[in-house]
Symmetry: C2
Subunit: 199 residues, 2 copies
């Protein structure tokens, strides 16, 4: 049992080292050699934990990043369903300048997805999963009368995901956080279109 | 005079060669050597036209791509101002699967901007310029009563640009073009929020 935990820790340390290297210097800065050095392992140990090499490490970073973004999304139950829906939609976005670096990682991963088919498939599956989750949340608000627009809500969910992606780029091009206010503007528009009666 | 035209042509040929290499294999595939080979020049000729090396070539690609996106945006004057505004906003987006590859180039350039400060500044300036143009177009529709929402329209323009960026990513992750319909959905929402009376 202790052996298994240790393996997971080591995998985690390798992923963390690769992530730091990519964040500070881009994909080119993360090689099997620099990742091993940063994590404090021999090159051979890296191959043991990631037999697929760098592309397996990158896929693990992608999965980690997407899980982190997903774990940020949270529901609340104040009794005001449209306020709760706004809270849920808002929770997918960075709230402060401190949260912007994860967008940086995402952009690097998008670039890599363009030339790595399996990474693209992994990401597309995540996007489809998120879209279904978001649509379900709007549907739930519709069921209790807090959303007046007619289903299906898949198009809205997909549009919403597009906007979150663009926001990640915009935030990194204007790292002073001045574009975080666009998010509020957009969410107000989404609620208006959904016709939430008590928005 | 003929000499100057020739120089411009050669610069163009080098930029085109580098763009093709990036589109087919990512940034790593475009080196000074492979760009020179593809364009049919000696390495020395490349240095003559681009003394700043690869980063100057990439900046030229960025400028070219941004100019192309901008040239796609077009106004029409049908007499129905809100229909004209929709046409203008729609014209910033790809219309078909054939137009999706330019988004690919954009994603590669974003990734590069993260580690290249001057590229980021070049891009931020373009974004600010586009934002002002789009806000001015909405303002013009407002002046003739076709937009009822109150100015300033800078936030809407900036939100709109975020969405166009996210769409480029979404379209590349779902290259069947299925996500082109999200664009129509979003534009309907923008016009609703602007309160265009004859939309």
């Amino acid at each position: 049992m202790a052996q298994i935990v240790d393996h997971e820790e080591r995998r985690g340390a390798i992923i963390a080292a690769a992530t730091e290297l990519i964040l500070s210097g881009g994909f080119g800065a993360a090689t099997m050699r620099t990742i091993a050095a940063r994590a404090g392992y021999a090159n051979g140990a890296l191959k043991y934990y990631f037999p697929g090499g760098k592309s397996e490490i990158i896929a693990a970073i992608f999965t980690n990043t997407l899980r982190e973004i997903e774990s940020m999304a949270g529901t609340q139950n104040t009794g005001n369903t449209s306020q709760d829906l706004r809270h849920y939609l808002r929770s997918w976005f960075p709230r402060s300048v401190e949260e912007l670096p994860s967008g940086r990682l995402l952009i690097e991963l998008w670039g890599h997805s363009l030339t790595d088919e399996s990474l693209r498939e992994l990401y597309s599956a995540h996007l489809a999963h998120w879209g279904a989750q978001i649509a379900a949340q709007i549907e739930a608000a519709h069921a209790v009368g807090a959303v007046l627009a007619a289903p299906p809500f898949e198009d809205m969910a997909s549009e919403y995901i597009s906007f979150t992606m663009g926001t990640a780029v915009m935030n990194l091009m204007f790292p002073d956080g001045s574009h975080l206010s666009d998010i509020e503007h957009y969410l107000d528009g989404v609620l208006l279109r959904l016709g939430t009666p008590d928005a």
